[in-house]
């Protein structure tokens, strides 16, 4: 009896104190300051032409596909359902939504926002109208929007958050032809920060939306954007405490940033996109799979990451085209089956090259083709991307060890860009797609429709079967069937090795807890900490609060 009483009082006490802590912990107020790399701020609040500056801040997305947790975080929408035949999507809005000017936000606004991009193809972010899978968007009642598709496509829904939900009572007054140049003065939105306090060329401030649909959110009062020229200026600003949130590479961060205030200065670098050396398999000697394998085995990925990239990225030993970012989708069987390809083994690499007929004929220390011409190629990398240049530099040193002459070739962005798209390279370091699902990465690698358009499809490994396989993904909503397709794609990638995996890039994320807490972190990884993504940044802004 007595013990029960004690237990009860303990429980009560816990409850009370828990409430007390909660009430005390979440304080309202405070300002978040973030760096923006641009030329300065101008009076343009059109979400489609302002470089993504206001996504997730002034404008609330329908939903956020959270790749860190695998959840769909519903924002303006309450639910989104596919029909059985995958040709209809029904989106339901939350109750009692309103715009920052007090007018009600209804399904009509949402339908209007999508239909508007039909007349203005430049706003059609995922080309849902121009390439034609979307048939119609209609508001069936005040809360319900129905998307009708021409063909079944379970991947269509991922594109919805790319479209901004805009107030019909303002945007419908603008003529279609004027939409691209419409600067949307005195913007009305539904995001957490809608009140433009001031706008100066080098700094601007937005403050909380009094009509935001979540009670007491955002906790912070305002967000300040500060304009910087480039990364090199963001670094000192972060060290001086001028900004709270950094998204840039910082050399030797433990000593330069964390050490200046170990209690408040933190960083968290979760895995981002996989970085590969793309190989042009249409040209000798890269047309020989064994040569590609040898070039992969010649590399000590751990060393490259540690020395050339300061240890921030994670070495990627999966030859199947995806890495840590897509962790749950990785096929362990495929990884295990092809694990030798990514294991550092220069001796084996030499054997493979010998067997492929690449031998040093003239005794200069470098291998030659069978016709006596030296094997020599350039590895393209963008001018000024210092960490990648160092990586490629190290790669060429490893290749020299196995008698292959490779050169670092730094080129201007435009040359690099067109080289990748037009398949005008021998070898090029490049990233891969960050998306809701790895199928989008495979689409960019292998779909023949992507040749000449994507940065990732220039390697020359394609097949009609793989095209069909990729297309079949959208025809099912069944997670198991989808995983089977992904497994097959992983097997295909590892077996053909169109690129040599190196490492997973880090998501650059530095933050200061001097004023604000609630940041995503290793202990609380609620979202991938990316500023340059409207949805992810929206979740973070909603979580930050005063210390």
């Amino acid at each position: 009896m007595r013990s029960k009483k004690i237990l009860a009082s303990i429980v009560c006490g816990l409850l009370v104190s828990a409430n007390g802590v909660m009430a005390e912990e979440i304080k309202q107020g405070g300002t978040l300051t973030v760096p923006i790399i641009n030329t300065g701020f101008v009076e343009n609040f059109n979400p489609y032409t302002s470089g993504g500056l206001f996504e997730g801040v002034l404008y609330e997305p329908l939903m956020v596909f959270n790749n860190m947790t695998g959840n769909v975080e519903y924002r303006l929408a309450e639910s989104a359902e596919y029909s059985q035949d995958l040709k209809t999507i029904t989106v339901k809005l939350r109750d009692g939504l309103s715009w920052s000017d007090g007018k009600a936000l209804t399904a009509k606004d949402v339908a209007f926002s999508f239909t508007m991009t039909k007349a203005t193809p430049a706003f059609d972010q995922k080309a849902i109208w121009t390439t034609g899978n979307l048939q119609s968007v209609t508001a069936t009642d005040a809360k319900t929007i129905v998307f009708k598709l021409n063909n079944a496509d379970s991947t269509f829904i991922w594109g919805l958050p790319k479209y901004h939900i805009l107030p019909e009572h303002i945007w419908s007054k603008v003529a279609d032809k004027d939409l691209p140049t419409f600067t949307n003065p005195n913007p009305v939105g539904s995001g957490p920060m809608t009140d433009i306090k001031y706008l100066k060329p080098q700094q601007m401030q937005l403050c909380r939306n009094a009509n935001y649909y979540l009670p007491n959110r955002p906790y912070i009062d305002c967000i300040t954007f500060r304009s910087y020229n480039d990364n090199s200026q963001v670094q000192p600003a972060l060290m001086k405490g001028e900004i709270d949130w950094g998204s840039n590479f910082i050399a030797d961060i433990d000593n330069t940033f964390v050490a200046t205030d170990p209690k408040n200065n933190h960083y968290w670098y979760p895995a981002n996109d996989a970085i590969h050396l793309y190989v042009n398999t249409k040209e000798a000697p890269f047309d020989d799979l064994n040569v590609r394998k040898a070039l992969s085995m010649a590399l000590d990925r751990e060393e490259i990451v540690d020395i050339a990239a300061y240890g921030y990225p994670t070495a990627n030993f999966n030859a199947a085209g995806i890495a840590e970012l897509y962790g749950p989708y990785i096929s362990k069987d495929v990884t295990a089956k092809y694990k030798d390809i990514t294991k550092f083994n220069p001796e084996k690499a030499k054997q493979l090259l010998d067997a492929a007929g690449l031998k040093d004929l003239d005794g200069d220390g470098f291998r030659d083709m069978t016709d006596g011409k030296r094997v020599e190629f350039d590895i393209n990398v963008v001018n000024g991307w210092t960490d990648w240049i160092q990586v490629v530099q190290m790669v060429t040193e490893y290749y020299e060890e196995i008698g292959i002459k490779a050169n670092v070739k730094t080129v201007d962005w435009a040359v690099y860009d067109s080289g990748l798209k037009d398949s005008d390279y021998k070898m090029s370091i490049n990233w891969s797609m960050v998306a809701t699902n790895p199928i989008e990465a495979y689409q960019a690698y292998f779909s023949t429709s992507q040749i000449g358009k994507s940065w990732h499809a220039g390697h020359g490994v394609h097949s009609p079967e793989i095209d069909a396989l990729i297309d079949s993904f959208g025809l099912t909503n069944d997670a198991q069937k989808q995983q089977a397709i992904l497994d097959e794609l992983q097997e295909f990638t590892a077996a053909n090795l169109p690129f040599i995996p190196l490492f997973s890039n880090a998501t650059w994320f530095q933050y200061s807890t001097a004023k604000l807490v609630g940041w995503p972190s290793k202990e609380n990884p609620y979202v991938q900490p990316v500023w340059y993504d409207g949805g992810k940044r929206n979740l973070i802004i909603n979580n930050l609060h005063l210390k």
Binding site: V42, G52, D124, P180, T183, N229, P236
Partner: protein, 324 residues
């Protein structure tokens, strides 16, 4: 008069050639504005959207000659269209925002360098046997041979990054409101010290040597010896007798220097993130923002040509024999 007409037609031809280069140069760089924009969106745009965006920015692939004609028209009507970088803001507005800062930087540093340079030049030529005359001009010549960017980076590193004495970026502290307040003017001055200082350091030697050489010639003239013989104070001889005559060739050099000063401010602005034309020119080039690049180059070309024309006029005024 016929001299003026000849010069005018010469400058007009030069102007036409220069603006044609303005048209060609950005187009000779690989990539176009939409590629650059697309890259900046980091794969968030669908490739199918590119053509639509290209059309929105007005880059419909007409033939080059048509593009050239419409470019020429836009130059003479000063309607340069929207900037790509800051779409849909007009290029004229973007330039209008940053031109005053560049003028402040370029002309301000020119004036300070001129006053200091002429003073030092006069004094060092008059006392050219002394320590000052022997040491200062060569030292300044040494400093001025550093390219703008090196001087700017050195100042940036020592005064901004290491000593933290002066701000590293911006034209004024973004936290304060612009206006005729002491706080604002102080902030502008503080932010101008490093960029202007680096330009003055580089520019000053030209004036020292211009003035010194002219002075040395004049100092050999009989009327200077006469003035000295009369027992006039050395200050009076230096400034009233020698200085006034020696400054004539310097005056014409000023006109030329204006153009160079504008060009020099470009590098300085980039280093100090000073929000002038040079800064946005660099951004514009990286974004392949043709309208913006063209507008800024147009201003630079006009500044150099106008300054040269003014120099020509000055010559005529100073030496009537030229117009014959």
């Amino acid at each position: 008069m016929s001299f003026l007409l000849r010069r005018l037609s010469f400058y007009f031809t030069a102007f036409l050639i220069a603006i044609s280069f303005n048209f060609m140069l950005p187009r000779m760089m690989p990539g176009d504005p939409i590629d650059a924009l697309f890259a900046a969106a980091q794969g968030k745009m669908d490739p199918a959207q590119m053509d639509a965006v290209r059309e929105m920015y007005g880059f419909v692939d007409g033939n080059v000659f048509e593009q050239y004609l419409s470019y020429m028209q836009s130059v003479f009507t000063l309607d340069l269209g929207p900037s790509v970088l800051m779409f849909p803001i007009d290029v004229t507005t973007v330039v209008g925002m940053s031109l005053p800062w560049t003028m402040f930087l370029a002309l301000g540093s020119l004036i300070v360098a001129l006053i200091l340079g002429v003073t030092i030049g006069t004094y060092s030529s008059y006392r050219r046997e002394g320590f000052f005359g022997q040491f200062v001009p060569p030292f300044l010549a040494f400093i001025s041979n550093f390219p703008y960017i090196v001087t700017a980076l050195l100042l940036f590193y020592f005064f901004g990054l290491q000593l933290e004495l002066l701000p590293l970026a911006y034209t004024y502290d973004p936290a304060i409101d612009p206006g005729f307040t002491l706080e604002f003017i102080g902030s502008v001055a503080k932010h101008a010290v490093l960029p202007m200082g680096s330009m003055i350091l580089v520019g000053i030697a030209t004036w020292v040597f211009n003035m010194r050489n002219a002075m040395i010639n004049v100092l050999g003239e009989d009327y200077v010896t006469m003035a000295e013989a009369k027992g006039l104070s050395s200050f009076r001889v230096m400034y009233r007798y020698a200085g006034r005559n020696a400054i004539l060739p310097v005056a014409t050099a000023i006109a030329m220097a204006i153009g160079f000063s504008f060009a020099g401010s470009i590098m300085t602005e980039v280093v100090f993130n000073y929000q002038g034309l040079g800064n946005i020119l660099l951004k514009g080039i990286m974004a392949r923002d043709y309208p913006l690049i063209q507008a800024i180059l147009l201003i630079l070309v006009s500044a150099v040509l106008t300054a040269n024309f003014v120099a020509d006029l000055l010559y005529v005024w100073l030496d009537p024999r030229i117009s014959k």
